[in-house]
C-alpha cells in the first residue's frame, strides 16, 4: 500500500542532492586519473597520480597523521570538557539558563572570524596573553613555534566546538529516564558511583553519536589553520585538507589534488566506520 506516496516524499530531497552532487563526484574521479595544465587541458594518464601519492609523497601522509592527532586530541578534549559542563548545568545551579546560553555561544560564531580575533589574542608582542605572561617573564611564540602552534590550534578548536558536544550531551542528559537515578538514590550510591554505574552507561549511545559527528566535522579542520597559521611554521600545522588546498588551488595540480581527495575520502569513510564499531564495543559492553 501507499506505494507511490513514499517516493513522492523521498525523491525531491534525494534527487536534488544527487542532482547537485553527481557532476562534482564523477568529475573528481575523472580528474584524479588525469594530468591537467592550461596548455592541453585534461589528459588521461591512468593511475599515475595514485602511484605518485602512494610511493612518492610523504608530505601527504605526514599531514594525514597530523590531522589524526589534531582531531583525536580536540574531540577527546571537547568530549571530556563538554560532558563535565553538561553534567554541571544539568541539575539545579545558580544562573542555570545564563550558563547554558553562554556555553553555547562560541559555536554560533564564525570560525574564520573568531580565529582572526584569536590571532590578535595570541600576538607575540601586542596580544594580551603574552602581556599577562610577562609577570612570569616568559613570552611563548604561540604561532611561530612548531609545537606551540599545534597547541594554539587545539585551544581555538576546543573553544569553538566544545559547545556542540555540550549541546548534544546536555540534550541527552535531559532526556534520560528518572527511574535508574531513583533506584541508585534508594541504594545510597555515592555521586561518583552514581556517575560510573548509572549516568555514564545510560549516556553511552548518545556519546558515540556525538563523538562520531564531531570527528567528521573536526577532520575537515581548515578555516582555523588557514587563518591562524596557514599550515606553518613550515608544515607543522598542515592538515590533509590544507595540503590538498595548497596542491589544488595554489599550485594548480588539480589532477593530483583530486586523487588525494579521493584517497582521503576513502580512508575517512573506512576509519570512521572502524572507530564507530570500536566505540560501540567499548562503551556498550552489555
Amino acid at each position: 500500500m501507499n506505494f507511490k506516496h513514499k517516493y513522492v516524499f523521498l525523491f525531491p530531497g534525494l534527487f536534488v542532492l544527487i542532482g547537485i552532487l553527481i557532476f562534482p563526484i564523477i568529475f573528481v574521479v575523472r580528474l584524479s586519473l588525469s594530468g591537467w595544465n592550461s596548455y592541453n587541458g585534461l589528459n588521461f594518464i591512468g593511475l599515475e597520480n595514485y602511484i605518485r601519492l602512494f610511493t612518492d609523497d610523504p608530505r601527504f601522509w605526514e599531514s594525514f597523521i597530523r590531522l589524526s592527532f589534531l582531531s583525536v586530541t580536540t574531540v577527546t578534549l571537547q568530549y571530556v570538557i563538554g560532558f563535565a559542563l553538561a553534567h554541571m548545568v544539568w541539575k539545579e545551579i545558580k544562573f542555570q539558563r545564563f550558563f547554558r546560553v553562554l556555553f553555547l555561544i562560541p559555536m554560533m560564531t564564525t570560525p574564520v572570524i573568531m580565529t582572526v580575533i584569536w590571532r590578535t589574542f595570541f600576538h607575540e608582542s601586542l596580544g594580551p596573553v603574552n602581556d599577562l605572561l610577562q609577570i612570569f617573564d616568559v613570552a611563548p611564540k604561540w604561532l611561530t613555534d612548531p609545537t606551540l602552534a599545534k597547541i594554539t590550534v587545539i585551544i581555538v578548536e576546543v573553544w569553538q566546538w566544545t559547545p556542540f558536544m555540550f549541546l548534544l550531551l546536555l540534550a541527552g542528559l535531559l532526556s534520560l529516564p528518572k527511574e535508574p537515578f531513583l533506584a541508585a538514590a534508594i541504594d545510597g550510591a555515592s555521586p561518583i558511583r552514581k556517575f560510573i554505574y548509572v549516568t555514564f552507561p545510560l549516556m553511552a549511545p548518545i556519546s558515540i553519536g556525538a563523538i562520531i559527528i564531531r570527528l567528521i566535522e573536526a577532520s575537515k579542520i581548515m578555516d582555523t589553520v588557514y587563518v591562524l597559521t596557514s599550515g606553518g611554521p613550515g608544515t607543522s600545522t598542515e592538515t590533509s585538507s590544507f595540503y590538498i588546498f595548497i596542491k589544488g588551488l595554489r599550485e594548480f595540480q588539480m589532477g593530483y589534488a583530486a586523487s588525494m581527495s579521493f584517497t582521503y575520502l576513502i580512508i575517512m569513510i573506512i576509519s570512521l566506520t572502524v572507530i564507530a564499531k570500536v566505540l560501540t564495543k567499548l562503551l556498550l559492553k552489555d
Binding site: L14, L17, P24, E217
Partner: protein, 282 residues
C-alpha cells in the same frame, strides 16, 4: 565530599566562563582603539589605558570610496543565502526524513539506513574536495559569483543536517497519529501536513537552527566560489586581515557578525529547557 564537589564545580565553571568570554571582551575593547593604542603596547581599560573612539565601528558602514569597509551589503547577502538555503534544505530534508522514518525502501542491498547514511555522509567530504568541481560546475552554468550559485552549494551542505535531525525526530513521533488521520479519511499528504507537521515543530526549529548555524559560519565555499559581484560576510571580514591589520574594525565587524546568532543561542536554550530538544537530537 559534597562541599568539595560544589567547590570544584563552581571553580571549573568560572574558569570556563572566563575562557569563553575572554576573546569577546578583547574584541570589544579592541574595537574602540585606534592605531596608537593597538601598536603602542597592550592596553585593556578604556579611558584609563587608552582614549576610546568609534572609528572602528564607523568604518563598517562607510562606503569604500570614503575609506570605509561597507559590510552592510555582505551582511544582507549572508543573511539571505543562509536563510534561503536553510529553508529549502528544511523543506526537502523534512520530506525525505519523513519518508525514511515511515516507509520501508528496498532496492537490492540498499535499505532505509543506507539512504540515511548517504545523506549524512555528504558531510564527511572536506569542502576542498568539492570546491574545485563546484567551481567548474558553477562556471559552466554561469552561476559563479552569484547568490543563487551559493544557495545551490549550501543546500548540499545543510540538507544532511536537516535529514539527520528530522529522521531521529520523526522516529519518536508515534505512528498512531498518522494512522488515525488516515482512518479519518485524510490522504497521506494531508496526514503529513495537517497532523504530523504540527506535532514536529520543536524538531523543525532545532533542525532550522542547526542549518542556520552551519550556513552562517561557512567560509570556504564562499571564499572559493565568489569574487567581486557577491561577497559574504566572513570573506569580507577575513579580507581585512591583510598586511596592516586594522584590529579595531576587524574586532567591531567580528562582534557584528556574532550578533544575529546570539538570538539562535537563546532559542536553542529555550527548547532545551523545555526538554523538547532532547527529542530531536540523539
Amino acid at each position: 565530599m559534597g562541599k568539595l564537589y560544589t567547590f570544584l564545580k563552581y571553580f571549573f565553571i568560572t574558569v570556563w566562563t572566563v575562557f569563553v568570554v575572554a576573546p569577546f571582551l578583547w574584541a570589544l575593547t579592541t574595537s574602540f582603539k585606534d592605531f596608537n593604542s593597538v601598536n603602542g603596547g597592550v592596553t585593556y581599560i578604556p579611558w584609563v589605558d587608552f582614549e576610546p573612539n568609534l572609528e572602528g565601528w564607523r568604518v563598517l558602514i562607510k562606503s569604500p570610496a570614503q575609506g570605509g569597509v561597507d559590510i552592510v551589503e555582505p551582511y544582507f547577502n549572508s543573511l539571505f543565502v543562509t536563510c534561503t538555503a536553510s529553508l529549502v534544505s528544511i523543506i526537502l530534508g523534512t520530506l525525505s526524513a519523513y519518508a525514511l522514518s515511515r516507509y520501508t525502501f528496498k532496492a537490492g542491498p540498499i535499505k532505509n539506513n543506507d539512504i540515511t547514511f548517504f545523506f549524512i555522509s555528504q558531510r564527511i567530504m572536506p569542502p576542498i574536495v568539492l570546491s574545485i568541481p563546484f567551481f567548474l560546475f558553477l562556471g559552466a552554468v554561469n552561476l559563479l559569483d552569484s547568490l543563487f550559485g551559493l544557495i545551490v552549494v549550501y543546500i548540499v551542505l545543510l540538507m544532511p543536517i536537516a535529514v539527520w535531525i528530522m529522521v531521529d525526530f520523526f522516529n519518536k513521533v508515534p505512528r498512531e497519529i498518522d494512522e488515525t488521520a488516515l482512518i479519518d479519511g485524510c490522504n497521506p499528504y494531508q496526514a503529513f501536513y495537517k497532523v504530523v507537521l504540527p506535532n514536529s515543530i520543536p524538531g523543525l526549529i532545532v533542525a532550522g537552527m542547526f542549518c542556520i548555524i552551519f550556513g552562517w559560519i561557512d567560509f570556504f565555499f564562499a571564499f572559493i566560489l565568489t569574487f567581486t559581484e557577491v561577497q559574504l560576510l566572513p570573506v569580507k571580514i577575513v579580507a581585512l586581515n591583510s598586511s596592516i591589520t586594522p584590529w579595531w574594525s576587524l574586532s567591531a565587524s567580528a562582534l557584528v557578525s556574532v550578533a544575529p546568532l546570539i538570538v539562535v543561542a537563546f532559542i536553542v536554550e529555550r527548547y532545551l529547557s523545555k526538554g523538547n530538544l532532547s527529542g530531536a537530537i540523539k
